[in-house]
């Protein structure tokens, strides 16, 4: 009987298959959303609070960049090329990919006990001091605890839970609150945010928080060994036990 999959050595699996697949699909969707979201902001790099806002009203703040529209007073003589058409098409297509991927991840995560087993901090760890303790270890550049090769530390757990259960739901909510069709059917979701322009401003800041997470996430992986950390997220296990820090 021919065999296609047979690990050479017995190793502890690091990441479940559903985690790996949804992780990389999220990478694709989020990258597309980030780039196209930036392009869309360029067409009106001014932000407001409340229901309405336009070039004739006082902005909450502006981003000091040229715009892709000559109607926006930016102080620059230069008008950037308009990229909104394909950016909007791709933004919403990537948003669907993110929503479907997130749904699969949540269902599989709850069904398999992934959140309970791998992400919720252990009962004794749920204090501010354990989190500060782990931050202090990072700052001292102390080597990681041996248990961290096979499971997330308390700071990772809390951060991942916040990204999964707070930031992603918020970015989807504030994004939906910018859809005129969705707002017609479900006005509560935009009204409770303080209006359409408040929703747009919040969408920008929550996206910024997700970008901040992405940057720290990649820096931490690079610092702790890029391939040592990335390989298990692709094939599920580490190449050899010696490579684990």
């Amino acid at each position: 009987m021919p065999v296609v999959a047979s690990p050479a050595r017995t190793q502890t699996p690091r990441h479940a298959a559903f985690v790996r697949v949804t992780h990389w699909l999220t990478v694709i969707a989020f990258t597309a959303l980030l780039i196209t979201g930036g392009e869309i902001v360029i067409s009106h790099p001014r932000f407001y609070w409340g229901e309405t806002g336009n070039v004739n009203t006082q902005p909450l703040f502006t981003i000091p960049i040229p715009s892709s529209r000559d109607t926006v007073p930016t102080g620059y003589k230069y008008v950037m090329p308009d990229q909104n058409g394909w950016s909007r098409y791709l933004h919403f297509q990537a948003a669907w990919l993110l929503v479907f991927t997130g749904a699969v991840y949540l269902i599989a995560g709850f069904a398999s006990g992934h959140f309970r087993k791998n992400l919720v901090p252990a009962p004794g760890q749920r204090t501010l001091s354990t989190h500060w303790g782990r931050i202090a270890r990072y700052l001292r550049r102390a080597p990681p605890d041996p248990t961290e090769a096979l499971s997330y530390n308390v700071l990772q757990r809390t951060t991942y839970l916040a990204v999964i259960f707070i930031l992603f739901p918020l970015v989807i909510w504030t994004g939906l609150a910018l859809s005129p069709g969705f707002n017609a059917a479900f006005p509560f979701f935009v009204n409770i945010l303080g209006g359409r322009q408040s929703a747009r401003t919040l969408h920008f800041f929550v996206s910024g928080a997700l970008l901040l997470f992405l940057v720290v996430h990649i820096v931490m992986i690079a610092v702790s060994g890029f391939w040592t950390r990335t390989r298990p997220m692709i094939i599920g296990r580490s190449a050899s036990a010696e490579e684990e820090p």
Binding site: P2, A5, T52, N54, N84, F92, P180, G181, A184
Partner: protein, 253 residues
């Protein structure tokens, strides 16, 4: 589950692929039958557009755009004016739009050509709704106009019609909406704004208002309505000049 035979993997893969392809084909047939496929569904962004349009039509078809109290009418709305109006428009403007006509044809029993005073003599309504631009800005105004369904019924639109195509006097500026939006009570042939005539900057003398979609569906300087059962033979067949310029046909997101 470390050992999977190649034969099992192959047969399994073929079964899953066949199920996927036939499932997609069946979904496509059902979606077409119930009008859930937008005209710009070809191309690489087709799946996302189709999901968005189908979801909106299944969930939000009968909802009403938010209306605001008059105290929320923007003091400083932004007109986003057409930089250089055509000579034809300027001629009408100089004549105070006395000869302006809105032609209604296509799949109607009674094609009509209406003057502005003809339209103003029809039943009209007002709404305080927000104009939302795809760029991100917005304003709230009161819009006074004749609901599009009044005009369509005056022309005796045929039940086979599935879309209404509408054109501006400005060249290459046209769009279309499905019947869910065309018969929607807030879709107006707008001729008044904030208790006065609709200013030229905001689309006067006549502007389509589709408040459940982004501002670019609210085409200014309206001269022509065509009822149709298909969008294939209008322009490049993508439903409006927006997708021809790279923007989505359905702008309710």
């Amino acid at each position: 589950m470390t050992q999977i035979s190649r034969r099992k993997l192959l047969t399994g893969g073929i079964v899953v692929a066949a199920a996927g392809v036939s499932g997609l084909a069946a979904a496509n047939r059902i979606a077409r039958r119930y009008g859930l496929i937008p005209p710009d569904s070809g191309g690489i962004y087709g799946p996302g557009e189709t999901l968005t349009y189908a979801a909106q039509r299944l969930i939000t078809t009968h909802s009403l755009a938010r209306e605001f109290p008059r105290s929320m009418i923007s003091k400083t709305p932004f007109a986003n004016e057409v930089a250089t109006p055509s000579d034809e428009f300027k001629r009408h403007q100089a004549a105070n739009f006395i000869d302006w006509r809105l032609t209604v044809d296509g799949m109607v029993t009674n094609p009509v050509s209406l003057s502005i005073s003809d339209i103003k003599a029809m039943p009209f309504r007002n709404q305080v709704t927000e104009v939302v631009c795809e760029e991100g800005w917005s304003y709230v105004a009161e819009w006074i106009g004749t609901p599009l369904h009044e005009v369509l019924h005056a022309a005796e639109i045929l039940p086979q019609a599935r879309y209404v195509v509408y054109r501006s006097i400005e060249p290459d500026w046209w769009d279309s909406i499905d019947m869910a939006d065309a018969l929607h009570p807030q879709t107006f042939i707008t001729w008044g704004m904030n208790d006065g005539d609709l200013p030229v900057g905001f689309g006067g003398p006549l502007r389509m208002r589709v408040p459940r979609q982004l501002g670019y569906k609210s085409v200014k300087y309206l001269v022509h309505l065509t009822a149709a059962d298909s969008l294939k033979h209008f322009g490049k067949g993508l439903g409006s000049s927006a997708p021809e310029g790279g923007y989505a046909w359905y702008a309710g997101i």
